[in-house]
Amino acid sequence: MLAQIVFVATLFFTIALFYRSVRRIRRAILLGRKEVKNDHKKQRWKNVLLIAFGQKKMFKRPFPALLHLCVYLGFLIINIEIIEILIDGIFGTHRFLAPFLGLFYNVITLGAEVFMLLVFIACTIFLIRRYSGRVERFEKPEMRGWPRIDAAIILWTEIALVVALFIMNAADQVLQQRQVAPYHKAGFFPFSQFLIPFFSELPTQTLILTERSAWWAHILGVFAFLNYIPYSKHLHVFLAFPNTYYSDTGIVPLGKFAIDENVKKEVEAILKEQFDESAEETPPSFGAKDVFDLSWIDLLGAFTCTECGRCTAVCPANITGKKLSPRKIMMDVRDRCEMIVNVIEEKGEWEPDGKTLWDFISEEEVWACTTCNACAEECPVNINPVRIIMQLRQYKVMEESKVPEPWMAMFNNIENNGAPWPFAAADRFKWAEKITEE
């Protein structure tokens, strides 16, 4: 009975904590400006199905994709197990589902063990890969410090959770053999049965203690992990779905950059020479100075990013040693959002802290982008760093007039000669005189 009370209390605490985190992240994402995307619903759901659920883009790199698929399926199947654990925990039952499911229960436990083993193998390989120093994208400067530890915590936790389940199942099987109540005959455990020799000599009391400890360790681990996710880079397990839904694959070509409506109004006014002097509204600002100026969809992307670095690995600027890393852009945007939300949660409302997104991202990074869209194309969950980079550029150019000098010259040339180079507009048709017929 005491165990049940402790369990229910922990469960409530877990849910309350998680709810708070969800609210916090929602608040952070909604710091961004409004952007409505409710067109092409069919295509959007198709993207969610293929890219988020189906992990289509992951399979550009088959080996890590396969390992990731194991962990993903393991995660899904373990959720079925967790339903039972919750029921057992609340009602003090043991393997509650077994009598109801009969033979199908064996299928579930079998499936769970298969995927748990795969999760174990995959996470081990992931750890080796990540920390061997051989995968270049994990060694970039933005991965130093916390991001590196974060990834290790996630992988080790997943391994620990699986190990706890294996120990629990092994001890359970010995207790089943000894017909100790409430360990009734249930389930089929193809892998943990090999651990039985380690437990078969132990006294029943120790076995029960082992089984219970493993059970608690596992569920408390799950609760802890659930509440760790919102603070980690692991949010993609939830946010990949909305992020893919609000992405533009199959809807807007990657080459089509948004038309700034505020600029459009101004340009139209200039061309029609209708300066509305009476307009008292403050002039709109252009581009992004801080995360407030980015679209909420850009911020959603920042929270979805799992720092895999595929974007950075294909970025021509990064490959050739420039400071720009699309992943760092996403990480910076998220860090800035978190910073702001912390102030809001602490003080009740936002009090400007004298900082902007530009304290995280340098001009040098922003200028280096070739807008080639390799990063956006590569992202397995359809995050688009180019959108953010473009808004940052727009801020520097249109608000601060801070531009690399040759670009300023290019702007002047376009304005004066209608071409980015200093050639006379009158010479624009001269090429036709030079055609030689053969």
């Binding site: 070509p253 089509k256 040098e364 200028w367 070739t370 727009q394 071409a419 180079w421 036709a432």
Partner: protein, 261 residues
């Protein structure tokens, strides 16, 4: 033959099959001009009724937009749209993927609605219509590697048409490891053409040219005037200009046009 100015069609816009959007690089850059000449000859060969805006054309605004100057971009765009709409232009073909992308994707929201073709897609259309025949053979035994332009490929999903055109040459078409959706930028996109690169360990054009040269091609085929500049520079930097030619698809095809009997 003479390249016609669009005013020739002012009272008869229906008779104009397509407007050739020249673009700044082809208008002023010597190398890109050769590509333009080759494409014009292809159009003549296929008896396409086309015209140009001549001095009434100005920069689409693409480099300004990508560099962050949305204001200048829209000024350029509105001006061009005014001209294009004045002449009742319906179809546009251009040899620059940057112009292509801007005209096709970004002008509609500002009031410019046209059917836009990149020269590769237009040539493919002419061939399909039977107005143009490419004679294989001229490039037999030659190795050609095609470099995807970002604004044609990833930006607009045009990967296969340029390749199909190159296959008509009977040459040996080879692919770089980074091709199609995984293609590596030449380094000129996003207005990089107009400034020095940020500090780094090498130029993007060098990285890309090395990849192309590792296949020992006779030709590096491009479909963009900026890629042309970057890869030509890259080949010169590698001192391979005597062995490897960087050519636009239009130039290669123009050399293989079947003479009319």
């Amino acid at each position: 033959m003479q390249v016609e100015h669009i005013s020739a069609y002012e009272h008869n816009p229906e008779a104009l099959e397509v407007l050739l959007w020249v673009g700044c690089a082809p208008a002023f850059d010597d190398r890109a001009q050769k590509v333009l000449h080759a494409f014009v000859k292809i159009l003549w060969h296929a008896k396409v009724k086309f015209a140009v805006l001549g001095t009434e054309e100005t920069c689409t605004g693409d480099p300004a937009k990508r560099a962050g100057n949305e204001f200048l971009f829209q000024m350029q765009a509105m001006q061009n749209i005014q001209t294009l709409n004045h002449y009742k232009v319906k179809r546009i073909v251009t040899i620059c993927p940057h112009c292509y992308n801007t005209l096709k994707n970004e002008y509609p929201a500002l009031g410019g609605h046209y059917e836009v073709y990149h020269h590769t897609t237009f040539i493919a259309k002419l061939i399909e219509e039977g107005r143009l025949t490419i004679e294989g053979g001229a490039f037999q035994g030659k190795k050609i590697v095609y470099h995807d332009s970002c604004y044609l490929g990833r930006a607009n999903q045009i990967y296969e048409i340029p390749r199909k055109l190159l296959q008509l040459l009977d040459a040996h078409l080879v692919e770089m490891p980074r091709c199609r959706a995984n293609g590596l930028c030449c380094g000129a996109g996003g207005a990089q053409m107009f400034k020095e690169p940020e500090p780094g360990k090498k130029d993007i054009s060098t990285e890309r040219t090395e990849e192309a040269l590792s296949l020992n091609p006779n030709y590096i085929a491009v479909a963009c005037p900026f890629c042309m500049t970057m890869l030509t520079d890259g080949v010169k930097y590698a001192e391979q200009q005597d062995k490897v030619k960087v050519q636009d698809i239009a130039e290669l095809l123009q050399q293989a046009l079947k003479k009319k009997s």
